[in-house]
């Protein structure tokens, strides 16, 4: 199954790098614009659970890496085995200054809060997301706070240090 997925991915999409690991994990590196198509392809080929969407800030390379982790639901007892276990880690790299991706809510509905979170904490814009408003944060931040160039100490001194004690 894994082997056919690999050849299928490489034949269908251009610029996709696939790395296999022996424990059933597969790393796929795809360009940003082909992410929805790759996700749809993976979904049609049995990886029907989007476990998480995450993001990594590679500040030296000037890139943000968005990570999609896909697994599959086990339906029969015979599905449980080392050769059946499948995890696919789909990665894409975006420039830090103009990080934009197409939203994948149409394919995996549960991506919505993940994309909102990545938008507010890393500043990645998801095209086609219905409500890209802050999920956890209450204040506006000049730099999204999970980016590596966000100086937390300076921010804390400026914001919380400015608030005076009420009574002596």
């Amino acid at each position: 199954m894994i082997a056919s997925l690999r050849t299928g991915l490489e034949a269908t999409f251009k610029g996709v790098e696939v790395t296999d690991r022996e424990d059933g994990m597969m790393f796929v590196l795809a360009p940003g614009e082909s992410i929805p198509a790759v996700l749809r392809y993976l979904r049609e080929h049995g990886l029907d659970h989007l476990a998480l969407v995450s993001c990594v800030d590679w500040i030296e390379e000037g890139e943000l890496e968005v990570v999609y982790l896909l697994t599959c639901y086990m339906r029969n007892n015979t599905d449980y085995g080392p050769e059946q276990r499948r995890h696919v880690l789909l990665r894409t790299k975006l420039p830090r200054e103009s990080a934009e991706l197409d939203s994948v809510i149409g394919i995996f509905e549960n991506a919505e809060p993940h994309e909102r979170e990545i938008h507010e904490l890393y500043g990645v814009h998801f095209e086609g997301h219905p409500r890209l408003i802050p999920l956890f944060l209450e204040r506006g931040y000049e730099i999204p706070p999970f980016r590596k160039d966000f100086d937390t100490r300076q921010y804390v001194e400026k914001t919380f240090g400015a608030i005076p004690p009420v009574e002596d």
Partner: protein, 190 residues
């Protein structure tokens, strides 16, 4: 009833009643909530000290903030505190509400809770053990006896300053002031 305390009961019955009917609102932020179930259930049984959990802040008079306070939580804490009837006592539980604790350089966690609402006592630790809660409660009894647990009065007196601090953090608040601020009070004075 403890016979030694009869004079106290006769002298100031209200204070004694406040002391032994602490109805606690456990504001379950952060990891402190892990300590609360053993405190209020059979193992340590907070009811021995007259501390009972209540369902809504409108029925409680002891406010325990058990853990770090993020900005969004602080908003809820202020609203909860303002809903509680007087007299009310606030206790910060754990090191995070005291000075930020391990979140001292976090971008979204407030550092000093007593700059936004008045706090009567602190229980230090990360996390404090349930015994510390009872030590805290007995200290609070002493403070109530001496009339020093007056956070709700201080909130009224310094409301303008508290409100200013809250607005420095959040900008415009979505609810009206609880007490008239100084300028309004000045205008209302004949």
């Amino acid at each position: 009833m403890d016979r030694n305390q009869i004079t106290k009961w006769l002298k100031s019955p209200a204070k004694m009643a406040h002391k032994y009917s602490l109805h606690a609102v456990y504001f379950c932020t952060g990891c402190g909530i892990i300590e609360i179930p053993p405190v209020i259930t059979t193992r340590w049984d907070a009811e021995r000290f007259g501390v009972l959990p209540v369902a809504t802040p409108r029925q409680g008079n002891l406010f325990m903030i058990t853990g770090y306070v993020s900005l969004k939580t602080l908003k809820a804490i202020i609203r909860t505190y303002e809903q509680m009837p007087d007299p009310k006592y606030t206790v910060g539980f754990g090191s995070c509400p005291i000075n930020g604790g391990m979140y001292w350089d976090s971008y979204n966690t407030i550092k000093h809770l007593d700059r936004y609402i008045p706090v009567d006592g602190w229980i230090a630790g990360c996390m404090p053990r349930p015994e510390a809660v009872f030590v805290g409660v007995t200290h609070l009894w002493t403070l109530i006896d001496k009339g020093k647990a007056d956070g709700y009065l201080r909130y009224k007196r310094y409301y303008a300053a508290y409100r200013r601090n809250q607005e420095m953090l959040f900008g415009e608040l979505q609810w009206p002031p609880l007490y008239p601020t100084e300028a309004e009070a000045e205008e209302a004075r004949p």
